[in-house]
Symmetry: C2
Subunit: 501 residues, 2 copies
C-alpha cells in the first residue's frame, strides 16, 4: 500500500528500497529524483526558448561568481550588503528585467527619502520642529503652525537653512526618515526596538506626504521610481489619512481617491506602457471593534465609488502587537452580509511566534477568503494552511529585505520562502517599505530572493514565473490580466535579446 | 476533482469556499482546521493520561512565563542565552525529564571541558606546548616528548603549575577547548571562521583523549554526564583514532572497540538502568576515494567483529568544505557487494547552500539507505527528499545549539525543524558537540527545541513523542527497542508523578 502510494512519487526506486535484496542507487534513478524536485519548484514548469536558455547559462555563471565572493550579500544585513549588491552583475541584470507588478508596497514608503528631503523640504512654507526624543516633524503652513507637544517651536526651513549647515541638516533629516545605520545589529538589538524606530520614521514623513500637493507629487514620484525599476503595475496599500491644505483645511478620503485616480491617469499619459495602479485601503490593527466596523463601512463605500482604482482592504502595523484578525470578524463579515464584495489582502504570518493568537492570522486570512497573504512568513509552520493556500491559489507576498530589517530572519538563505519556492507555492516578490530600508523598486528584493533563498537552483525560469505571478495574482480582471501578461512577455523577450547582446 | 482531493483535508469548509455564494467562516469549521494542524504535528497522535494533562497545563504556564521575558533565550546566541536558560523552570523540568537516547554525539565532545582541565591535565606525565597561533597541545609521555612543529618546547605541567598562576592557566586551557566567548557575533563573523575555531578546539583535546587510559576514563565520564542528564542510551560517532601509551606505543582500532565495550559494561554494572552505548565509526569527509574504500573495509571488519557495540558508519567534518557523499559511492557500495550489512548514519544537509553538490547529500544519504540523517538542516528545501524520508521512516537528528553556534541559523524560532515538527516529520533531538558549546547532555538542546522552534504549540505530548523517537530510531534490535521503550515509559510516568508533587 505504501509502495503503491509512493510509485507516483519515486517510481521504481522505492520498490527497490523496500526489498532487502536491493542494490545500490542507480545514477539514472538519482537523476530522476533530482528532476522531480526541479519540476516542483517555482519555474519548474516553465519551458525556456533558445535565447532564454542562453541567457540562463550566462546568469548561472554570474550567480556562481557572486556565490564565491568572500562576503555573500544575502547572508549579511541589507544595510551592509547594499553596496555589494549594487556592484553585482546579477543585480544589474535584475534591474533591467521587466518585473511585472509590485503588489505589496505601502504609501509613504515608496519614494527614496532623498527626494523628500532634497525636493519636498526645500519647497515654500515648510516648517520643522525637533522632538524631545531627537526626531523631527514637518508641516506646511501659510502661517506659524500651532505648537506640537514634545516638539520645539516650529521653524520655517528656508531661513533656518541659511543659518545652519544645510548638508548636515539634510543628512539628519534623511537619518530620521529611514532605518539605515552603519551598525544595525547594535542599533536594533531586537524586534521591539526596530519596530519602534520604524513607526517613528513613519511619523517624520507624515507631515510632508499628507500635505495635499505633496500627496499627489509623492504618488507620481513613487510610480516613476517603480516604473524606472521596470515595474508596469502597482497595488499600493494606503492608509488614506486626511490630506491638508496650506490653510489647515482637511480633505476627505474621497479627495485622496480622486487624487490617486488623477495622478495615475496623468502618469499613464506620460508613460503609456505603464498599466496603472490601484489602492488597497488599510487601517492600523490597533483599532477596536467599533472603529473596525466603521472602517470596513468606509471601505465598502470607496469600493462602490471608486471600483476602477480601489482594489480592496487590509490591516497594517506590527502583527505581534496588534489585534488578531479573528478579533475583527464582525467587521469583516459586513461585506458578505451587505452582499457587496470587498476583496481582502491581509498581512498575515509576519511573525516568529508560533501557536499564539497572532500566529492564527494566517489561517484566518484564508478563512476570510483573502486574495493574497502579505508576508506569510509563518506559512511553513502551518502545513494545512499551506495546502489550502495552494489549492485556493492564494499567493504569499514575500518581502525579503523587510523581513530581515525587521528582524524576522537574519541570513536570507534561511528565509522560509526557500521551502515554499522549492514546493512551487504561489508566490510574488515585493518590497514592502523600500524607502525606509534604502531599497529601490523591487530589484534589491529580487536579488535577495534569487541569490538568497532561491539558491543555485533558481534560474531564469524561476524569475519568469515570479514576474508572471505578479500579474496573475493582481486584482486586475481576467481580461486585463491576459493583456498585462501579454505586454509583460513582449517586454520579457526584448529584455532577453538585449541582455544577450 | 480538486474538491474531491481536498475533502480529506478540510471537509466541508472548502466546498464552501469554492462556491461564490458562501458565507463567512463558521467558528466550528475553524476549530476543525486548527485541530487538523494539531493532529499532524509531532505529539499530535499522543494521548495524554490525566496526570500528564495536569503536567501539560503546568508546563504551558511555565512556557508562557518564559515567552514573556524581556529577552527570549532561543532568539539569542546560546553563549548569552545559557545563563537565562538555566534559570528557567522549563529547563529544570526538561533536565528531570527522561530523554531516552542521545543519538548524535561525537566522541571527544561529550564531556564538559572542566573535567578535562581540572582532572585530566592534573594527572602525572602531562606535557603542554604552546602553538604559534596562540593555542595549546597536550601529550602524556614517560619522557620528554619529541618537539612538535609550530609549538613551543613540551613542558611538564606539574612543575609549570607551581611557577604560574594555575587558575589563569586552567582558564586559558578551557578557552582553547571550547568555542565559548563573551561576544560570539564579533569573534565568529562567518561560518569559515567558526569552523576553523571548531577544528582547532578538537586538536587541543586530541592529545588528552587519545591517551589510552584517558580514552576509557573519558568515555566513562561521558556516559556518566549524559546519564545524569537522564539519558538511558547513547550512540556515539567515534573517529577511533589510534590511542597511545605512555611509552608512545600505539593501539589498534580493535583495542578502542574493546575498550568501549569494557567501559560500557563497567558503567552498566555501576548504573544498572543504563541500557548501553554503541559506536558509529566515522571518518573525515576530506579523504579520497582510495582512503574511503580502505575505511569502509575497516568498518566492515569492525561490524563483523563487534556486532554488539558497533552501530554503523558515517562521515564527519564540515559538509560545505568536504567531499559530497556521491563522490564516495564506490566505497559505499562495498557492503552491498560483499553482502555484509553496514548501517549508515550520514550527516547530510548541514548547509545553507542550495542547489550545490553538497546540497545533494541529503538525497544521496537516502539513496544509500541511511538509517538516520545527521542534522538534515536543508530538508525543508527538498520536498521530494522530505517525503521519501518520511515514508522510509528515516528521522532527522536535529541539533539546535550546534546549528546556531556554527552559524546556520541565528534565531532558533526560524530553525527549519519548526516546519518539520508541524508536519510530524520523523525527528530526534540531539546535541552534536555539547562540550564545545558549553551545553550538557541533551537538556539545553531540548529547551531550545521546545521553546524555540517548538513554539507555543509543542507540549508534553510533543516531548513524549520526541523521547520515544530517540529509542524507536536507534540502532537497537526490535526486541531491544521494545524493552527500552517500556523502560522509558516507566521512567516517564515516574517523572510525571514526581513533577506534579
Ligand atoms: Zn506590509
Ligand atoms: Zn555531528
Amino acid at each position: 500500500m505504501v509502495v503503491r502510494k509512493l510509485l507516483g512519487l519515486v517510481g521504481v526506486v522505492l520498490l527497490c528500497w523496500m526489498s532487502p535484496s536491493c542494490g545500490m542507487p542507480d545514477p539514472r534513478q538519482r537523476e530522476d529524483l533530482i528532476k522531480q524536485e526541479l519540476i516542483r519548484e517555482i519555474g519548474g514548469g516553465v519551458v525556456l526558448n533558445e535565447q532564454e536558455k542562453l541567457l540562463d547559462a550566462k546568469l548561472e555563471q554570474l550567480k556562481l561568481q557572486d556565490m564565491s565572493l568572500p562576503e555573500f550579500p544575502p547572508a549579511m544585513h541589507f544595510f551592509r550588503a547594499k553596496p555589494l549588491i549594487e556592484q553585482s552583475p546579477v543585480y544589474s541584470l535584475l534591474k533591467k528585467m521587466p518585473k511585472g507588478a509590485a503588489l505589496h508596497v505601502h504609501d509613504f514608503a515608496m519614494v527614496g527619502v532623498e527626494w523628500l528631503v532634497k525636493n519636498v523640504t526645500y519647497r515654500e512654507n515648510c516648517y520643522v520642529c525637533f522632538t524631545d526624543d531627537r526626531s523631527v516633524r514637518f508641516v506646511f503652513s501659510a502661517e506659524q503652525p500651532k505648537p506640537q507637544s514634545h516638539c520645539s517651536t516650529w521653524t520655517l526651513l528656508r531661513p533656518l537653512r541659511e543659518k545652519l549647515n544645510s548638508t548636515e541638516l539634510d543628512n539628519s533629516f534623511i537619518r530620521n526618515l529611514t532605518l539605515f545605520t552603519e551598525d544595525p545589529d547594535t542599533a536594533y538589538p531586537n524586534q521591539d526596538i526596530v519596530w519602534k524606530r520604524f513607526e517613528q520614521a513613519f511619523f517624520v514623513a507624515y507631515g510632508l506626504v499628507t500635505y495635499a500637493p505633496i500627496f499627489k507629487d509623492y504618488l507620481y514620484e513613487g510610480l516613476r521610481q517603480f516604473y524606472m525599476d521596470n515595474i508596469m503595475y502597482m497595488e499600493v496599500r494606503a492608509l488614506l489619512p486626511p490630506t491638508y491644505e496650506l490653510d489647515g483645511r482637511r480633505n476627505s478620503k474621497d479627495w485622496s481617491m480622486r487624487a490617486c485616480r488623477e495622478v495615475v491617469k496623468r502618469f499613464k499619459t506620460q508613460y503609456p506602457d505603464f498599466l496603472g495602479a490601484r489602492i488597497i485601503f488599510t487601517v492600523h490593527r490597533g483599532i477596536n471593534e467599533t472603529e473596525a466596523i466603521k472602517t470596513v463601512e468606509e471601505a465598502l463605500t470607496l469600493q462602490r465609488n471608486f471600483p476602477d482604482i480601489m482594489a480592496g482592504f487590509d490591516f497594517v502595523g506590527r502583527e505581534d502587537s496588534g489585534r488578531p484578525l479573528w478579533y475583527f470578524r464582525k467587521a469583516l463579515e459586513l461585506p458578505e452580509e451587505q452582499g457587496t464584495p470587498l476583496p481582502f489582502f491581509f498581512h498575515a504570518g509576519e511573525t516568529n511566534s508560533e501557536g499564539t493568537d497572532v500566529d492564527q492570522n494566517i489561517m484566518d486570512a484564508l478563512l476570510f477568503n483573502t486574495s493574497r497573504i502579505g508576508h506569510g512568513f509563518a506559512m511553513t509552520r502551518h502545513p494545512v494552511v499551506k495546502e489550502l493556500a495552494r489549492k485556493m491559489k492564494v499567493p504569499v507576498e514575500v518581502c525579503p529585505i523587510s523581513n530581515q530589517v525587521l528582524k524576522l530572519v537574519s541570513d536570507l538563505r534561511n528565509h522560509p520562502a526557500a521551502a515554499l519556492m522549492e514546493e512551487g507555492q504561489p508566490m510574488v516578490i515585493s518590497s514592502d517599505d523600500p524607502a525606509l530600508f534604502g531599497a529601490t523598486g523591487l530589484s534589491h528584493d529580487f536579488y535577495q530572493a534569487f541569490m538568497g533563498f532561491g539558491g543555485m537552483r533558481s534560474n531564469l525560469a524561476t524569475l519568469k514565473e515570479l514576474v508572471i505571478n505578479s500579474l496573475r495574482y493582481s486584482s486586475l480582471s481576467s481580461t486585463e490580466k491576459e493583456k498585462a501578461i501579454a505586454d509583460l512577455l513582449v517586454k520579457w523577450d526584448k529584455f532577453v535579446l538585449q541582455t544577450l547582446l
